[in-house]
């Protein structure tokens, strides 16, 4: 799987999670033709998310990490909660 495919799959699983509003800025994967904001795939995977308030953040982060790890190919997954959506 190429880095581009990994980044796009990670973006898809993050956006599919009900607590994720959008991916946060800060870094991005620059792919041919597009970029995936909030996802970085190098020797580690980094994701930045903006969450919906309500649920405990550590729980949500554990779920996100588990979901992302399936596509991360054994790389550690760093999760940054960049912001909460305004209620």
């Amino acid at each position: 799987m190429t880095v581009a495919e990994v980044a796009e799959r990670i973006e898809a699983v993050l956006l599919a999670h009900p607590s994720v509003v959008r991916l946060g800025a800060g870094y991005a994967s620059y792919l041919p033709g597009r970029r995936v904001v909030g996802v970085r795939v190098e020797e580690r995977v980094g994701v930045a998310v903006v969450l919906r308030p309500g649920r405990p953040i550590p729980e949500v982060v554990d779920e996100l990490r588990a979901a992302v790890a399936e596509h991360a190919g054994g790389r550690p997954v760093d999760v940054e909660v960049a912001d909460l959506e305004e209620p």
Binding site: R44, V45, L51, P53, G54, R55, P56, I57, P58, V61, D62, R65, A66, A69, E70, P76, V77, D78, V79, E80, V81, A82, D83, L84, E86, P87
Partner: protein, 152 residues
Amino acid sequence: MANTPSTKPETSTSPARLADDTAQGKTTIASSVVQKVAGIAAREISGVHALGGGVSRAFGALRERIPGAGTSATSGVTVEVGEKQAAIDLDIVVEYGAGIVDLARAVRRNVITSVERITGLEVIEVNIAVNDIHLPDEDGEGAEESNPSRVE
């Protein structure tokens, strides 16, 4: 991933699950997240009219239009966030009639509970400054009711 549960004890007494740098990766929570959670929790308490000092309220409308300057949800809330702990300073405006000592205690309790539950950080202190007291007709609310026509 099979060993995830064993490496993360789910005890409520250890809020130090944050920023844990394990083989699976580390977690960081931006300080604006803690600010928003604390601001929402403080506003939930009845008797809190608004958050923010005189200056931050005066410029609140302007600040919301400046990218990165914070929003109304974070006005009046200052946080210091470490890897496992957070310290929170609140500037609040209370409603006239509220007992300030009891109100401050309730705000502090709700902020600590919410921030610890939602972010998992241990809150070491919540400093509350009561900047102003809001009088019922200060904003012109109820101006009509207070000057009803005396004759029909």
